[in-house]
């Protein structure tokens, strides 16, 4: 199968990879770019574990054609921490026990980041709406919602 070259920015770094025709972006990021932070849950848009940001907006990696990422800016959970310093969202998740098995966490964090960038002071309902495409089988969602609201307070005055 012919491979095609594509390039994009991945968490601020210029990245070039070869993709198969028809390959989805989630698989391309994991297999070709070596970024294992977005997860494969269902491959059909239902679970949100593969949520990544494309040009700042949340997208489902599993349903995005990899070739469509050409020239775009992609953000994943790998880019959240600043060296040894966790992102306020990650810290809030950790301290608030918002991750149990952790499989949904990466998608939750990206959906939450997209929310806090555009809406730094969300209401509880707005948080629920923002993560409505992300399934969690462990936490019952409440600790996740609390953690995102907590991160909004921690971020006070800073961009998410």
């Amino acid at each position: 199968m012919a491979k095609r070259p594509i390039s994009f920015t991945l968490n601020g770094t210029e990245t070039g990879i070869f993709v198969n025709e028809g390959q989805n972006l989630l698989e391309a990021l994991r297999r070709e770019a070596g970024d294992l932070s977005p997860k494969f849950g269902c491959g059909q848009g239902t679970c949100g574990a593969c949520t990544i940001l494309i040009d700042g907006a949340p997208h489902l990696g599993c349903l995005t054609l990899a070739e469509a990422a050409q020239g775009r800016s992609i953000e994943t959970t790998s880019g959240l921490a600043d060296g040894p310093d966790l992102h306020p969202l990650q810290r809030a998740f950790m301290e608030g026990f918002a991750a149990q098995c952790g499989f949904c966490t990466s998608g939750m964090l990206m959906a939450a980041k997209a929310l806090l960038v555009t809406n730094p002071h969300p209401t509880r309902d707005e948080v629920i709406e923002a993560i409505s495409g992300n399934l969690c089988r462990c936490t019952g969602y409440e600790p996740i919602v609390d953690a995102i609201l907590d991160a909004a307070i921690r971020l006070q005055g800073r961009v998410a």
Binding site: E21, G22, P58, A111, A130, S132, G133
Partner: protein
């Protein structure tokens, strides 16, 4: 083996046989799970598909416009609640108008509103088709839709109700869109469309006629609701049986007509 062909012009893309890729929220599922059923994906980067432009006929919406863009566009505030009822934020950044027109049962919530609004589609060869004709021929048609044209309507003229098992997000047990030219039940010329109540979105013509000829009060609404299932063809699926859909349709139509969301 899937081939991906990318075109910068819609007209050229439409001449190549294959599956036209919108946002991919349905098509990429098929690519992921049944790649043997797809030979060619046709990707179109034509900026024409992204436009939202008002002209004398109404508002032209490119087939590649996403639900998120509808929500954010000042000229499309009437459709914003409908777009907001589709999926969750990430999905809305991907799902397109064109894909929604072709989305099989039980999907196509936006298409239901477009049917009630008497919008029309424009094909890449310039052909125009009203929504009803479009849906009648949808399973047979091959080609590419480039635009949908929505007549200008005021907020209050469109009522929309989506019935689902989970909120927010959740797929339609049914969706209902009602266009009321007078903005209230006191006017004439209402159009009622149902989604997930047949193979494509369908007009509830018997209910429309009952509303047209009936008293403009609760009894007229009741008469319209009691016949709303005529001409619809619901099917069983994992969300609800055809029987259940038929039973609850009058209740939800009444709530929709009365302005409950």
């Amino acid at each position: 083996m899937i081939e991906v062909h990318t075109f910068s012009q819609a007209a050229e893309a439409a001449r190549t046989p294959g599956h036209i890729l919108g946002g991919g929220t349905l098509l990429m599922r098929q690519v992921n799970y049944a790649p043997q059923t797809i030979e060619k994906l046709i990707r179109v980067t034509d900026p024409e598909l992204q436009e939202i432009r008002a002209d004398s006929t109404g508002i032209r919406i490119g087939a590649g416009v996403t639900m998120a863009s509808i929500i954010n566009h000042p000229d499309l505030s009437v459709l914003a609640p409908v777009a907001r009822a589709i999926g969750a934020p990430a999905l809305r950044n991907m799902a397109t108008v064109g894909g929604n027109l072709f989305a099989p049962h039980p999907y196509g919530d936006l298409a239901v509103a477009l049917l009630a609004l008497d919008a029309f589609v424009i094909w890449s060869d310039g052909r125009e088709e009203d929504m009803e004709t479009f849906f009648q021929g949808r399973e047979r048609t091959r080609g590419m839709v480039t635009h949908v044209v929505v007549p200008r309507v005021q907020s209050g003229q469109l009522r929309f109700r989506k019935v689902s098992r989970t909120r927010p997000k959740g797929i339609s047990v049914m969706s209902i869109a009602v266009y009321l030219p007078g903005g209230s039940l006191s006017g004439r010329g209402a159009r009622i469309a149902f989604g997930a109540m047949g193979p494509t979105p369908l007009r509830a013509k018997a209910a429309e006629a009952a509303l047209e000829n009936g008293a403009m009060d609760a009894s007229g609404v009741a008469a319209a609701c009691s016949v709303c299932g005529h001409g619809l063809a619901p099917q069983d699926d994992a969300l609800a049986s055809a029987w259940y859909r038929n039973e609850v349709a009058p209740v939800h139509l009444r709530r929709c007509l009365e302005g409950e969301t």
